[in-house]
Amino acid sequence: MARRTSPRRPAAAGALPSDPELANAVSITRELTRRRFLARSGMAAGAALFAPSILAACTTPGSNRFTVSNWVSYIDEDDSGNPEGKGTTLYEFQKQTGIDVNYLTDFNDNDAYFNKSFSPLLGRGKTINADVVMPTNWMAARLIDLGWVEELDLGNIPNHANLLDAYTNLDWDPGAKHFMPWQAGIGGIAYNPELTGGEITSANDLFDKKLKGKVTMLTEMRDTVGVVMMGQGSDAAKADPDDINKALDEIEKAVDDGQILKFTGNEYLQGLEDGSIAACVAWSGDIYSLDPELGIEFVVPDEGGTQWFDTMVIPKGATRKSQGEEWMNFVYDPENAARITEWVGYISPVKGVKEVLEAAGGDSAELAENPLVFVDDETQKRLQVFGPLQQKDEIAIQTRFNGITG
């Protein structure tokens, strides 16, 4: 997902190696998460900035191997950081199915991938060099709408039954016949209680004059606008352009007043660590990866937060569709899904993952209790997936947002 995984911007900032002693002090789970974070931010930043994917996407001739294109550091790795090392999900998949996987981590930005790969190739009826790609929910909806995604043969995916009910009845794909979610996360507010001088409970606290010049928001329009909209009492799920523009008015005014320092990818993490940011719109998984000793808190505001998820889809004309379905089936086995969850620390869309983790005991069981990974019902009620936008509205809103974020 765009967010944490991969700073669409030089997000690497947050990635600067932290004090090794601190790293040792945190639990094993945290260490894993931390390492994932370091790897991801560094690599993703490089990828995002120097965009090797533009070449990868346009010039690589069709590979003879089954190809998965994922975000950086978004699947379990072995101790040496190899995602295909012994015991990893990719290793097990290849061993059990005999399918040779070409695993790429070149999906580093929804819009960028769309403009470099989906639109120029799929839009001209050509195929892209991947059999499974992982766009975020709104991008998946756009691709399905454009007819650039293959319909899944659910007969090949018995584990489709393990998909949580929340995903099976979405307006843009009833029955989830074209996509399967990969991981999900929350957009909310992170803050440093020492700097805010108390708890933050509302999105409107971000506009508190006390925090002037110490607030940041995300360059990801849907999360920033969604959180502010809900603070204004609007529904992010409805995505009414008037409501969105009202939220943009407030954001714009805050920028003019000097309230907002800047708009960031996940480099806000470093700002939280070094005290230049008191409060910001943030992604749950990022905060989960921070050293708990820093005391940074993450809240879903009382008025609500955004929920997003990344999907697995098979692009139109993919040569290895059935292998893609076999892959989806494999990662929807709760055992396999739990192994991925344990490593990436996101919200799993697969039924039964919590039970697997609880049964495993130790750190895994602790993870099963983590409210940012297994969201409780009360919190879930306050989460909204940002609604669909008409093309002209989306362009107009994104353009206005880009003008505000500088």
Partner: protein
């Protein structure tokens, strides 16, 4: 000097074109052809932003719209790059001078040190500045410990006691990242100067300041010119420094072009903006060459 060079070239004109052809071919294939296609897109419309189809309609409005929308960023890019270039000259010239005339046996080591930062990637070096300038970093600590915040604010080195996320940090980052491209060309032109010229000046009872002004400075101008181009052009187009070290009001033109391409799917506007940017730079370079005089350049 220029004269002699020209006479030798005239003798073998055919040979000269032969030697030029790989370069010309390169420019044709990898510069002119892409430029043509860029210009075509800049004059097109994209009826459906999601689809890869363009209508070539001589849509000049792309250009005026871009200037209207991104005028601030254009001006800001050239201002930041201009200030950074001047700072690079102020830092780079004395350093190059020292390297060329005073460093003695240390010269190669010091020259090597100028290059050492390039062993690390541009991105990493810039990110490192976030740590140095950040709220908990050494720069803020020193200023606060010595209670100099009022003075640094007054001198506009800091804004409200902060180094990071300010225009000053962006300009500082640009200066830091490109100063080596200023030092090296100036060094090369200084190093070529015949030291006997200075001895001659002294023999004629000239004062050192005059010798510098009348001999060294003019002879080193080609280096300053080359250094300025190598610094100003990439600095104006850079947006990593602005993104990492700046704030919401420091974005430069590069990131706007990127956003148009990748976030708004507006290829025509992005192409038009790129063209405007290049046109301004080209015009600026030609003007600069004219002012500095082309004869020195031939040297």
């Amino acid at each position: 000097m220029a004269g002699t060079a020209n006479t030798t070239l005239k003798k073998g004109k055919k040979g000269t074109y032969g030697l030029l052809s790989p370069g010309v071919l390169w420019l044709l294939l990898f510069f002119l052809v892409p430029m043509g296609s860029l210009l075509k897109i800049a004059l097109s419309e994209k009826p459906d932003p999601w689809l890869p189809e363009y209508d070539f309609t001589w849509h000049w409005a792309n250009f005026s719209d871009s200037v209207d929308r991104f005028g601030t960023e254009l001006i800001r890019s050239f201002t930041y790059a201009g200030i950074a270039t001047i700072l690079c000259i102020l830092i780079g010239y004395p350093l190059a001078y020292y390297l060329a005339f005073r460093a003695g046996k240390w010269r190669s080591i010091l020259l090597g040190l100028v290059m050492v930062p390039f062993f690390t990637s541009f991105l990493i070096r810039t990110i490192a500045w976030r740590t140095i300038l950040g709220g908990e970093g050494p720069a803020v600590w020193v200023v606060e410990t010595l209670h100099l915040t009022g003075i640094t604010d007054f001198l506009h080195i800091t804004s409200n006691g902060a180094f990071l996320n300010t225009p000053q940090a962006v300009i500082g980052g640009l200066t830091y990242n490109f100063v080596a491209f200023m030092i090296l060309p100036i060094y090369v032109s200084l190093e070529k100067i015949d030291i006997n010229l200075l001895d001659a000046a002294r023999d004629l009872y000239d004062v050192p300041a005059n010798a510098f002004r009348k001999i060294i400075l003019p002879l080193s101008l080609p280096g300053v010119f080359a250094g300025t181009l190598l610094t100003f052009i990439p600095a104006a187009g850079d947006y990593i420094n602005a993104t990492l070290l700046g704030n919401v009001r420091t974005s430069m033109i590069g990131s706007q072009i990127e956003k148009l391409f990748l976030s708004e799917s507006n290829y025509p506007a992005a192409a038009a903006l790129s063209f405007i940017f290049m046109a301004i730079i080209t015009a600026g370079v030609l003007l600069y060459a004219k002012v500095l005089g082309t004869e020195e350049l031939a040297a």
